[in-house]
């Protein structure tokens, strides 16, 4: 979650695993939009000597659809190159790293940023340095300085690629133990005493691509939209990762060599879509497809398995949901087409009738001064499912939506169950916290500073 290890094949390929996507009008520069794509889940900060890094053999994309056809009208592509400065040492660093260009960092990573628009590629920047991972106070004594050095200006854009604290939070241990939500588990089919939620991603880092571009660069009109109800005000966003179509193991190199075109192996638009909407048997194929073909998955949105499970797992708690058998037009709008105007006063993020899993952002809605982590459900139109901010509690939002809170938007005859509007897994971001300015995700936890977690058999 939100798309960490969400599909069987992708769970074996963390370097290409898209874990979260964020898209929001930038609170620090409201004439820009910030796009974030995270990869490589569950990074233990002390995972040396070969610490996590982007894959040189992976193409990382942030895609934008702005013409209402669910196609990638603009793609920002990141390619990485890793160097080994001293082939005679096993060390990641041979001394303190005080500057991202220090030669004591034995395994620096660089990247190029390319924009693909209307089928034409333009290299926007090359040889941009990443920061090292956060190793500890001896090796990376001023990590924040290193991360700041890795924020690059590329024309009127800003870009960062490197390790960050994972801001997503969810109680995986409980959710995947037969759908338990610890704050409500006395109501579960197999009851236990209620407890606070536990953030399963606490202490873990991810690798992030953070790109801030002028709104005019990604909007349909080439200008910053002013009217939220204007159709061209909305963009669709999704991340992807691709590998070469053929990989041969080169015994001489002890590594794989790629041949052929780049083929998509992972994608992510709305949080949790492939995680809890798509059946396991179709998750791998879903990852390889483009959003434009998502109509074949619409039946899983219109009749989601989770909505059937909730009344079973929590007997007597969701009688209205249990009795509701109509297709879920509310979820179809939220996840596959965007919400048309006329549903929520003054708001829309409709991208057209092509059913496609994209994160939809209305560029004409300015950032909120005091964001509500429940986004649109909390009356804050600048948050999920209008794009997604780093602090949006997408687990609670989607749990409540699936439980029926959003049905009355399209079917006023339905009254949600009382519990539906209270659902939460009880977690918050217990990692590095979010920042008010670029790159918005907090500095990653350090290896030396890491306290191992605890586990128990029973």
């Amino acid at each position: 979650m939100s798309s960490h290890r969400e599909a069987p094949e992708m769970a074996k390929d963390p370097v290409a695993d898209s874990t979260d996507v964020y898209a929001f009008v930038s609170p620090d520069r409201p004439n820009t939009v910030t796009l974030i794509a995270n990869y490589i889940p569950f990074q233990a900060p002390d995972g040396g000597p070969n610490f996590n890094e982007f894959g040189d053999d992976v193409a990382y994309d942030i895609n934008i659809s702005n013409k209402g056809e669910a196609e990638a009208d603009i793609t920002y592509r990141f390619h990485f190159t890793t160097r080994v400065r001293d082939p005679k040492t096993f060390l990641y660093n041979t001394g303190p790293i005080s500057n991202i260009r220090d030669t004591t960092w034995n395994r620096p990573q660089f990247y190029s940023l390319t924009r693909i628009k209307n089928g034409r590629s333009k290299v926007l920047a090359e040889h941009l340095p990443c920061p090292p991972v956060n190793i500890g106070p001896r090796s990376t004594p001023n990590y924040h300085h290193l991360a700041t050095q890795a924020v690059h200006k590329v024309g009127s854009r800003r870009v960062f690629a490197g390790q960050r604290a994972d801001a997503f939070h969810v109680d995986l241990g409980s959710v995947f133990d037969l759908g338990a939500l610890r704050p409500f588990q006395h109501l579960h089919l197999i009851p236990m005493a209620d407890t606070a939620g536990r953030n399963s991603l606490q202490g873990f880092n991810v690798h992030s691509l953070v790109l801030q571009v002028p709104i005019s660069e990604v909007s349909r009109s080439g200008k910053a939209p002013q009217d939220p109800e204007q159709p061209g005000a909305v963009i669709g966003v999704w991340s992807a990762a691709s590998r070469r179509k053929s990989r041969m193991f080169d015994k001489e190199k002890g590594a794989y060599v790629g041949h052929g075109p780049w083929e998509q192996v992972s994608r992510l638009g709305n949080p949790l879509f492939n995680e809890v909407i798509t059946p396991m048997a179709h998750k791998d194929a879903w990852n390889a497809r483009a959003p434009k073909g998502d109509a074949i998955f619409a039946k899983y949105v219109n009749h989601p398995e989770l909505a059937r499970l909730l009344p079973v797992l929590y007997p007597g708690v969701f009688p209205h949901l249990a009795a509701y058998h109509k297709a879920r037009a509310d979820l179809n709008a939220i996840l596959l087409t965007g919400i048309p105007k006329g549903i929520v006063p003054g708001f829309q993020n409709f991208t057209g009738t092509v059913e496609s899993d994209m994160l939809r952002l209305n560029l004409a809605i300015p950032p909120t001064q005091s964001p509500n982590s429940l986004g649109l459900l909390g009356g804050d139109a600048a948050g999920f499912p209008n794009g997604r901010r780093v602090g949006d509690d997408v687990v609670a939002i989607e749990l409540r939506a699936v439980a029926g809170v959003t049905i009355p938007l399209v079917d006023p005859s339905f009254t949600p169950d009382g519990a539906a509007g209270l659902l939460t897994d009880g977690t918050t971001d217990t990692n590095g916290g979010t920042k008010a300015t670029f790159p918005f995700l907090g500095d990653p936890g350090g290896g030396y500073q890491t306290q191992p977690g605890t586990s128990a058999v029973s």
């Binding site: 053929s246 041969m248 041949h259 052929g260 075109p261 780049w262």
Partner: protein, 84 residues
């Protein structure tokens, strides 16, 4: 079948074998006398025959995939691949 015997059989059927690698240019295929063109690939290439009943051969080279429909090429690859 011993290794030696198998090698003899493979040699007789025209498929070359050397430490597990099938050489497409050995045996009767030499009669084709293919010559490299000016635009011939100058890097490693992967050939993929997905369906042995089809004449389709997919070639991965650089960041490109070239799909050729060549019954003779597909057959020669299949014959060589079946050599073991």
């Amino acid at each position: 079948m011993s290794d030696t015997t198998r090698r003899k059989l493979l040699a007789a059927t025209g498929a070359g074998v050397a430490t597990g690698t099938v050489g497409l240019t050995m045996g009767p295929a030499q009669a084709g006398e293919a010559r490299r063109s000016a635009s011939s690939a100058r890097e490693s290439v992967v050939a993929y025959v997905h369906n042995h009943r089809s004449s389709e051969v997919r070639l991965m080279v650089g960041e490109r995939e070239i799909v050729v429909h060549d019954r003779d090429l597909a057959t020669r690859i299949l014959n060589a691949a079946g050599g073991r």
